[in-house]
């Protein structure tokens, strides 16, 4: 999960796990200072995740606050074999989804406009062309990262959310289906369409327009 970004390598992981275990023990014992330490340690990565889901900074901060309140109330149920960051990430994603459900939807373009078109014989109407550079090279450029983020924001909401959950937050198909209350098959269909639409939106930029 991206909430773990930057936590890699066995010594770092061990030390993080040990700090987390200590923090959880203090929280479960009702140590109020431990809660502030938890917030200081974990709120920034959670805020970054919330900003991806919610379009306003205010909503993102409110979702983070909701998540910490939920975590505080259910810390007794935290399983010691789980990672604290993973547990908080799941709570935050649910808080973001809850907020999205209550928000008024903006008018959006139909996803079909971004899907490939086929002739009667089943072949592509407009043949696809290779992109100029590898994804790894392109995504190193801040300008390109901005284009990609803007393109993700243009996806119709139900597709954008599935793409965020599956490809960016790296939840499984089953976890995503459960979080959204839809079938695993619906997740697969939405994810494939979201990727296709995103590809269509990026295509003109990746064939020379960014340079």
């Amino acid at each position: 999960m991206l909430a773990h970004a930057g936590v890699s390598g066995s010594s770092r992981s061990l030390s993080t796990t040990s700090i987390d275990a200590d923090l959880v023990a203090r929280l479960q014992a009702g140590d109020s200072g431990a809660f502030e330490a938890l917030v200081r340690q974990h709120s920034m990565p959670l805020l970054r995740v919330a900003r991806r889901f919610l379009r306003s900074e205010e909503d993102a901060r409110d979702a983070v606050q909701d998540a910490f309140i939920s975590a505080y109330k259910s810390i007794a149920a935290f399983a010691s074999n789980s990672r604290l960051s993973t547990w908080l990430h799941r709570i935050l994603v649910n808080a973001c989804l809850m907020r999205l459900r209550t928000q008024r939807r903006h008018p959006e373009e139909a996803i079909e406009a971004y899907l490939p078109r086929f002739a009667e014989d089943g072949h592509q109407v407009e043949p696809s062309a290779a992109w100029d550079e590898s994804a790894d090279a392109m995504v190193e450029r801040e300008e390109v990262r901005g284009i990609v983020r803007a393109a993700i924001d243009r996806l119709p909401e139900q597709y954008r959310i599935v793409l965020l959950l599956r490809d960016i937050e790296e939840m499984t198909t089953e976890e995503t289906a459960e979080a959204l209350g839809i079938t695993a098959n619906a997740v697969k269909i939405r994810l494939h369409r979201a990727r296709q639409a995103l590809r269509t939106l990026l295509d003109p930029h990746m064939r020379g327009a960014t340079r």
């Binding site: 709120s43 901060r61 109330k73 072949h123 696809s128 290779a130 994804a135 990727r195």
Partner: protein
């Protein structure tokens, strides 16, 4: 295309995610590979579809976390004290 592949592009693109996940039956995968061997358009589509996934991930990559906004920390701590 010089030769008509057994599966049309529509079928290839519809099942691309399963192809990349290795979730296709061996026989279907062979049909995919036969199509890709003669269809540069689908080869380009497959590569850019794969790149799209990597770029979505890369563009959302977190930079160093930095410090959380102080007012957010205070608001969260205060809200829990009120609970």
């Amino acid at each position: 295309m010089s030769k008509r592949p057994y599966l049309p592009c529509r079928e290839i693109i519809a099942f691309l995610a399963d192809y990349l996940d290795g979730a296709l039956a061996l026989e279907t995968r062979s049909k995919f590979d036969r199509h890709l061997a003669v269809c540069p358009s689908c080869v380009a589509y497959l590569a850019s579809y794969r790149d799209t996934i990597r770029m979505a991930k890369g563009a959302s990559r977190d930079a160093d976390a930095g410090d959380p906004p102080e007012e957010l920390v205070r608001a969260i701590v205060a809200s829990v004290r009120r609970e």
